[in-house]
Amino acid sequence: MRPVSAEPGESPFRAHHDLGGVRRFLCTPVEREEHSLSDFDREVDALRQVLAQHGLLRVDELRRGIESIPEERYFALSYYERWAVALADVLLSKGVVRGEELRAALSEGSLE
């Protein structure tokens, strides 16, 4: 969570995901349309729910994982892509999934 450089009048050590109140977004219209969900989005959401039901992942852990995505990658990923990256990161760090298991599953295409 590398602090980003601040604009004039902005907090000096803001983390890149902490976007509320940033002045350059002032007067930017709020999108009020519901975003459509892709099959990928739904699968990621379903995975998160199953992991939570089994006590393997808290929403707070997911948020921490999302926030730890480096800034450049964070803004290049979609909302649910961030979730997928964070899910993998947290599960790997907790030892729920091993790296070779994840690589094998990805090479089979089952997680694409």
């Binding site: 602090p3 009048g9 050590f13 902490d18 509320g20 707070d60 852990e61 921490r64 926030e67």
Partner: protein, 94 residues
């Protein structure tokens, strides 16, 4: 459980744990170091800063804190009210 009462003036701690390593902080950057007042006690919840790392999470009082826009931004939109959920350890009584 905690001494804060509705209407009481508070200051949010001007702390930046982000500078010292991986953290999960629910207190937005734009209220840190700023003054507001307690609007409501919302209940007691496990500390998300600990839950985020799967650590034992002591229950903490959570408050709605009301800020005047002028306390946060140099040229705010008038007539807006800012309510932020903030856990007790982030608040200093004034």
């Amino acid at each position: 459980m905690n001494g804060f009462k509705p209407g009481q003036r508070v200051r949010v701690r001007a702390e930046w744990p982000e500078r010292h390593g991986p953290v999960h902080i629910r207190t937005p950057h734009y209220v840190r170091g700023r003054e507001g007042e307690i609007a409501a006690f919302l209940g007691v919840f496990p500390n998300p800063e600990d839950l985020a790392f799967d650590r034992p999470a002591p229950p903490l009082p959570l408050y709605h804190v009301r800020f005047r826009p002028e306390a946060l931004w140099p040229a705010p939109v008038s007539g807006t009210e800012i309510l932020v959920e903030i856990f007790a350890p982030w608040l200093i009584p004034l």
